[in-house]
C-alpha cells in the first residue's frame, strides 16, 4: 500500500518547551490508524500541524516534513493549504459540542463546505447533504437541516460533524478524540459509522484517542505517543498481544482493570 500521508521527523515547540519531538508516522490509503497517548502528550498538536491549524504565534520552532499524496504540505502557501482543508483532508475538532456555529442552521453549515469541483457526482449540494445526513443515521434529514446546534444532542452533533467532513469526499479524515464527549453506546455507534464509511468511500482515517478500548475495536495500526515522542508502533493485534515497551504494557494493564472496556476490546 502506498502512503497517503507521511509525517517525518516533525518537531514543534514553544520558546521554552518541546511539544512534539521527532515524530514520524504514516497513513496508507483505506486504513484506520490510531494515535494513542495520555493528555498533554502532543496528540492534538500533531493533528493540528498536519492541517496547519496550530496557534502560530505560540509555536516557536517547527521543522520536519509532512507529505500528503507525495506533496510537501509545509511548502504550501496558506491559500493552497485552504484548498486542501476539507477537500482532501477533513478534520473533526476535539469538542463536538462547540464545533458547530450556534447561529447557523445545520443545513447551511453542511452546504457551506461543499465545493462542487471536488465531488464528481452529479448531485446538488442539497442532495449531497441529505444523502450524508441519512447516511449518518438521521431519517428526517430535512428537520435536521433546519435545526440549530443547541437543539441537538452531543451524539447528534458528532454525527453531523462527520457528515460535514464528508461533504467533499476527502481522502483522509483526521478525527481528534471523536468520542470523548460521548457515552459508551454512542462511542460504539460513531466508531461503527467511521468503519462503514471507510469501506464505503475508500476513506483513510487517522484518529486520536486516549482510549485503548476504541483502538482495539476499530484501528488497523496504532502509534503510541509519550511526551511528544512515538514510543511504539505496530498493527493493533501485535500491540495488544506482544507489547514491547514498558509504557505500552502499563497502558494495557490499566485497561485490564477497566472491565467494561475490556469486554469490547477482546
Amino acid at each position: 500500500m502506498s502512503h497517503l500521508l507521511e509525517v517525518s521527523h516533525l518537531v514543534a515547540g514553544t520558546r521554552t518547551t518541546t511539544i512534539i519531538n521527532d515524530v514520524s508516522l504514516n497513513v496508507c490509503e483505506n486504513e484506520i490508524v490510531a494515535l494513542v497517548g495520555e493528555s498533554g502528550s502532543g496528540k492534538s498538536m500533531i493533528a493540528r500541524s498536519i492541517m496547519r491549524l496550530y496557534p502560530s504565534e505560540q509555536i516557536h520552532t517547527f521543522s520536519g516534513s509532512i507529505r500528503f499524496q507525495d506533496q510537501e504540505l509545509l511548502r504550501f502557501s496558506e491559500n493552497s493549504m485552504r484548498k486542501i482543508r476539507g477537500r482532501e483532508i477533513a478534520y473533526i475538532p476535539q469538542s463536538p459540542l462547540n464545533a458547530l456555529n450556534p447561529m447557523m442552521t445545520i443545513g447551511k453549515q453542511l452546504i457551506e463546505s461543499y465545493d462542487s469541483r471536488c465531488y464528481e457526482g452529479k448531485s446538488s449540494p442539497k442532495e449531497r447533504a441529505h444523502h450524508l445526513l441519512k447516511r449518518v443515521g438521521f431519517h428526517d434529514s430535512q428537520l435536521i437541516m433546519n435545526s440549530l446546534a443547541y437543539q441537538l444532542s452531543g451524539g447528534m452533533r458528532q454525527r453531523i460533524l462527520v457528515a460535514i467532513s464528508l461533504m467533499n469526499s476527502p481522502k483522509l479524515l483526521i478525527a481528534d478524540e471523536p468520542t470523548t464527549a460521548l457515552d459508551v453506546t454512542l462511542q460504539a455507534e460513531i466508531l461503527d459509522l467511521l468503519q462503514d464509511l471507510k469501506e464505503e468511500y475508500g476513506l483513510a482515517i487517522f484518529f486520536i484517542t486516549h482510549d485503548l478500548g476504541l483502538v482495539a475495536r476499530s484501528a488497523d495500526r496504532v502509534y503510541i505517543l509519550k511526551s511528544g515522542e512515538i514510543v511504539e508502533t505496530g498493527t493493533t493485534d501485535d500491540l495488544f498481544y506482544k507489547p514491547q515497551m514498558t509504557y505500552t504494557k502499563t497502558l494495557l494493564d490499566s485497561l485490564i482493570q477497566h472491565p467494561t472496556i475490556t469486554a469490547s476490546a477482546v
Binding site: 477533513a90 445545520i106 463546505s113 446546534a149
Partner: protein, 274 residues
C-alpha cells in the same frame, strides 16, 4: 419577557417620545426660550401643562426641546462610538499580537486622559454647543466599545466552530461575515445601546457643571439641574424632566435587552428544526 415584547415596547415608547419632541411643539403656543416674568414658577395648568420655571418659560415646551437635545446627543455619541469602536476593535482582534498590543496600548493612553479635561479642551477648541460636546464624549467613549468588540472577536476567533470552519477550508472574509460576526453582533449592539443612556447622563452632568449645553437652550439634564434648588417649593419643575429621562432610558434599556435576546439562538423562537 419575550424579546419581541421587549423590542416592540421599547420601540413604541421611543417612537412616542420622538413624535412628541418633533411634533409636540406645534401644540404649544410658547417658544422654549421666551421669558414671561409675570408667570414665573406657575404650577401646571391648562395654559402651562408642565408649569413654568423661574423666568416664566413654559416647561412643556422646554422639556420637549430637552428630549430632542438629549436624544440627539445620546444617539449621535453612541453611533460614532459604535463605528469607531467596531473598526478599531475588529482590526485589533484580528491582527497579530504585536499590532494588537500597539493598538490597545494607544487606546489605553487616550483612555487615561482625565475626562473633564478633554471635555473642557474640546469646548475651548471647538466652541460650546452640541457638536463639540459629542466630539468630547466620543474622544473617550469609543474606547469602551473598541475593547468590547476586540474581546468578542478574539473570543470568537479561537472558538471551536471557527476553527472547525477554518479546517473545512472556509475563506477568511466568509469566516468573519458568516461565523464570527453573527455570534458577536448581539452583545455588541447591547453594549452600543448602553452607551446611549451613558451619553445622556454625561451630558446632564456636564450641563449641571455648566460646560454642557449652554443656556438658554434646554436639555433634560440642564432642566433637572436648574430645578434642584427649587425642588421643595416648585416640585413640578423637577418631576417632569426627571420622569422623561427615566422613560427615555427605560425604553433604550428594553430595546438593548431585546436586541441581545434576538441574537441569542436559545432565546429566539427558532422556526423549523427540532
Amino acid at each position: 419577557m419575550n424579546y419581541k415584547v421587549k423590542i416592540s415596547l421599547g420601540l413604541t415608547i421611543l417612537g412616542v417620545l420622538l413624535f412628541l419632541c418633533l411634533v409636540g411643539s406645534l401644540f404649544s403656543p410658547y417658544e422654549p426660550t421666551s421669558i414671561y416674568l409675570a408667570h414665573k414658577n406657575a404650577p401646571p395648568s391648562f395654559s402651562h401643562w408642565f408649569g413654568t420655571d423661574e423666568l416664566g418659560r413654559d416647561l412643556f415646551t422646554r422639556t420637549l426641546q430637552g428630549i430632542r437635545i438629549s436624544l440627539s446627543i445620546g444617539t449621535l455619541a453612541a453611533f460614532v462610538d459604535l463605528l469607531l469602536g467596531t473598526l478599531w476593535g475588529t482590526i485589533s482582534g484580528f491582527a497579530n499580537r504585536k499590532v494588537d498590543s500597539v493598538m490597545m496600548r494607544l487606546a489605553e493612553l487616550v483612555y487615561s486622559l482625565p475626562y473633564l479635561l478633554v471635555v473642557i479642551l474640546a469646548s475651548v477648541i471647538l466652541g460650546k454647543g452640541l457638536i463639540p460636546l459629542v466630539v468630547a464624549m466620543v474622544c473617550i467613549g469609543w474606547i469602551q466599545m473598541a475593547r468590547v468588540v476586540r474581546l468578542l472577536v478574539r473570543d470568537a476567533r479561537c472558538s471551536d466552530y471557527v476553527v472547525a470552519a477554518h479546517a473545512l477550508g472556509v475563506r477568511t472574509p466568509r469566516l468573519f461575515l458568516a461565523h464570527i460576526f453573527p455570534n458577536i453582533v448581539g452583545p455588541m449592539l447591547a453594549a452600543c445601546m448602553l452607551s446611549v443612556p451613558h451619553a445622556i447622563f454625561t451630558e446632564a452632568f456636564l450641563s449641571f457643571l455648566g460646560i454642557g449645553i449652554q443656556p438658554p437652550i434646554a436639555s433634560l439634564g440642564s432642566l433637572v439641574g436648574d430645578a434642584i434648588p427649587a425642588m421643595r417649593f416648585f416640585p413640578w419643575r423637577l418631576v417632569f424632566p426627571a420622569s422623561f429621562i427615566t422613560l427615555l432610558i427605560f425604553s433604550i434599556m428594553l430595546l438593548s435587552d431585546g436586541l441581545r435576546d434576538l441574537y441569542d439562538p436559545k432565546k429566539r423562537l427558532h422556526e423549523g428544526g427540532l
